[in-house]
């Protein structure tokens, strides 16, 4: 590793110059949002088309790959900046449109209002600014401030926009003063449980021994959550700076990032970032002349949800099966290789950077009484504006879903919101005014979790959702403790019986009993929280469970064994489409003959329901009803 030869002021000056040069050298800049989600939406093809167009037009412009600005519902996204003009953000692109925008805007000066969403910075040419968009108005972007705006593979961009000034600040303080600042900021862990970060650090610092470790938990396993991935892909140095600050405060010489292997782009950008840090003297020996030595190693997860639990994660780094162990001792006292270890979530480390860049007062001034600062969430499911958001803690769920998320897709009826992943709970409409902070969510039966918010509408069956989450945790249970291993399995069998219409009047009582036992008796967080989705749905949507059990009816028409597909004779035109597409060969009929579904053969796949032309709408899905249909196909003309 190279040693630092330049003072930080000089580094920053050069970084600012480089950043300014990007914008002021007379050439246009095109930023392409190329995080994983953008790539799934096809942004790389868009970038290729733009590149080709620029060559064809002989325009010397710069293409910059950035991360994710969080407007996932509008991807693919790019923004175009002409010299001395604000950037204009274009959305929902395909390669052809993107190429035409480049030509229209850069050559013909047509702003292409049809595809432009907003300007970045001040409003421009009748376009609103990004901050004025409804999706942004209630957000506070601290952690995501640079996401989508900088090149995550250029450390200079991060430094130019305030990066590593927090590390410089921290290194000018005594280690115990650094911990004092974290305590004053009242930062709580962003991984889910919300333990005060400063307190954890203090325990670790005062634990005996010189060898200490810090770990960044990037094992974002909650299905439906992607905030950590987006942050690591968009602004990795923000997280890494916090780790260096933490290592100084705790006297740790080695740190680990435990990141899911399912996040290849995040891993790639982290590796690039670590190299740059070493080159700039932010890692390695005698960091910025402080005498402090620190290195960061990357460990890839191998696909085990339970490794998000801190003691299991440590076992996995040590090369063992990722099984949790009883606490105490807590990792802060005895962790990796038996040494005191601090584990914090990706977002927590970014919060640390922020606290030292802006001061603890800045951080503590935002948020609710018990929960300070902001929190990022991935807002997904049946919501119009799905994406990555950041809000001050204490905001209500209603503001998140309706003001930021724009409400339910197709303006359907809201049913529930699932927050906190498989460890969290489903909250109903009456609880939409619940403030989003650690304590309010926990008294509602959910948890903050790492930040997944999944919105569900009337077409979602809560029994099915409870079954889904329990199926997930049951499969991920490591099997070490009996109540989790056997209890979740038995609970799953009961839920299955309910879903399939085989449950009796005792089933709910049994399910509730077992849920309590698993909650109290499990060794680690996975088992202790696994019953939450079942318990909250039972608490708030008991009538739906009862409909499944007593009436053998699934009100949302989701549970396969309780639904039936019929072809309405009056509407069927005998077009043969469903007959040909049915994978089970369950549909009888002929050309211009009313089709009939053989219920014995029907596998309830719903293909007929989807392929029936909208102008006929002859296939219906019902639950708990019976419809009379002809026993043999009859000619369309002679029906009735």
């Amino acid at each position: 590793m190279k040693k630092l030869t330049r003072p930080f002021d000089e580094i920053r000056k050069q970084a600012v110059e480089e950043w300014n040069r990007l914008w002021n050298d007379g050439r246009a800049v095109i930023r392409v949002e190329s995080a994983t989600c953008g790539r799934a939406a096809g942004v790389l093809q868009v970038a290729d088309a733009v590149q080709k167009k620029l060559q064809e037009l002989n325009i010397d412009a710069k293409i910059v790959n950035t991360g994710c600005i969080g407007l996932c519902y509008l991807e693919p996204i790019m923004d175009v900046t002409k010299p001395n003009q604000p950037s204009i953000l274009y959305h929902s692109l395909d390669p052809k449109t993107a190429a035409s925008i480049v030509e229209d805007y850069l050559v013909k000066n047509d702003i292409r209002a049809d595809k432009a969403l907003c300007s970045l910075g001040s409003s421009y040419a009748n376009l609103p600014s990004l901050a004025e968009l409804p999706v942004m108005q209630k957000q506070t972007r601290w952690i995501l401030q640079r996401c989508g705006l900088i090149d995550p593979e250029k450390i200079e961009h991060y430094i130019a926009l305030g990066g590593y000034s927090g590390l410089v600040k921290a290194l000018s303080m005594k280690p115990h003063e650094v911990i004092e600042w974290v305590k004053l900021s009242r930062l709580r862990g962003r991984g889910g449980a919300g333990f005060p970060t400063g307190k954890k650090w203090e325990v670790c610092r005062s634990a005996p021994g010189d060898e200490k470790y810090i770990i960044c938990n990037a094992d974002e396993g909650d299905p439906g959550a992607f905030m950590n991935r987006a942050l690591l892909e968009s602004d990795p140095h923000f997280v890494l700076e916090g780790m260096v600050i933490g290592s100084y405060a705790l006297g740790a010489q080695v740190g680990y990032i435990y990141c899911r292997a399912e996040y290849p782009l995040a891993l790639e950008r982290l590796r690039t970032a670590l190299k740059q840090m070493a080159d700039f003297g932010f890692l390695g020996k005698d960091i910025l002349g402080s005498g402090h030595n620190f290195e960061i190693r990357i460990k890839e997860g191998a696909g085990a949800f339970v490794c998000g639990e801190e003691t299991a994660l440590i076992a996995s780094i040590e090369g063992k099966r990722g099984m949790p162990r009883p606490r105490p001792p807590y990792p802060a006292q005895s962790g990796l290789w038996g040494k005191p270890t601090v584990i914090n979530n990706v977002e927590t480390w970014a919060c640390v950077s922020l606290i030292f860049q802006k001061g603890w007062e800045y951080f503590a001034n935002k948020g609710s009484e018990s929960s300070k600062g902001t929190k990022t969430f991935s807002l997904v499911g049946k919501v119009k504006r799905a994406g990555l958001i950041e809000v001050p803690l204490g905001i209500t769920l209603k503001e998140i879903i309706y003001d930021i998320g724009g409400g339910i897709i197709g303006d359907k009826e809201f049913k529930a919101v699932q927050i906190g992943g498989p460890s969290g709970g489903c909250l109903p409409k009456v609880l939409l005014t619940t403030p989003v902070d650690y304590d309010s969510l926990s008294s509602a039966g959910s948890i903050m979790g790492s930040g997944g918010i999944v919105v569900m509408d009337e077409d979602t069956c809560v029994v099915d959702i409870a079954h889904y989450f329990l199926d997930f945790t049951q499969k991920e249970s490591c099997g070490k403790c009996v109540v989790c291993r056997e209890g979740t399995w038995k609970m799953l069998q009961l839920l299955k019986a309910i879903k399939e219409g085989r449950a009796d009047s005792n089933t709910l009582a049994k399910l509730e009993d077992l849920a309590q036992i698993v909650k109290i008796g499990s060794l680690c967080g996975l088992g202790q929280t696994a019953p939450n989705p079942v318990l909250t749905t039972l608490r708030y949507f008991r009538d739906e469970y009862e409909a499944h059990i007593n009436e053998k009816r699934c009100p949302a028409k989701v549970c396969k064994n309780l639904i039936t597909y019929y072809i309405i004779p009056d509407k069927c035109e005998g077009c043969m489409i469903c007959l040909r597409e049915c994978p089970s060969g369950a549909i009888r009929g002929g050309k211009r003959m009313v089709h009939i579904i053989d219920q014995e053969k029907c596998s309830k796949c719903g293909v007929c329901y989807n392929v029936c032309p909208p102008r006929f709408r002859a296939v219906v899905k019902v639950s708990g009803e019976h419809m009379n249909t002809p026993s043999e196909p009859i000619p369309v003309q002679r029906r009735k």
Partner: protein
Amino acid sequence: MINMAEASQILASDETIKVMEILKRYSSDKDNLIPILQEIQKNVGYLSPDFVRLVSKHLKISASSVYGVATFYTMFKFAKPAKHNIKVCLGTSCHVKGGDRILETFERLLEVRCGESSRDLMFSLERVACLGSCALAPVVVIDDTIYGNMHVDRIKPILSKIRG
């Protein structure tokens, strides 16, 4: 350390040589176990009993310990992989948006069950918990290509395009 002669007694295949090359790059520290297994999985595609034995000798731990760790993590496979790997995401967002219907359609078209490979070893099909692209649900990943906003109608064309 294991020498090449010893390795060739086990099985002198290209795959074994690849595994040997990987092992050379790691010390015998026990915490290297998972990274070694990951590299074999990535470059060779699966962990055969012979590879497990080689790793166990290299790290001086029992083969059953290696096997114990390997079977704990879903990433590791123990049978030769098919040519193309299909991962259907069944994260929460994908589930709510009909991911299981996508999976069922793949199962039907490939005539396999989830977790299996098609008879011609062209495709293997598996489910994953979450790929973190929830706003584009339902999501499918085939080899290294991500398909967002999947629909049952798109599956047949995608498969025939890959088949060529």
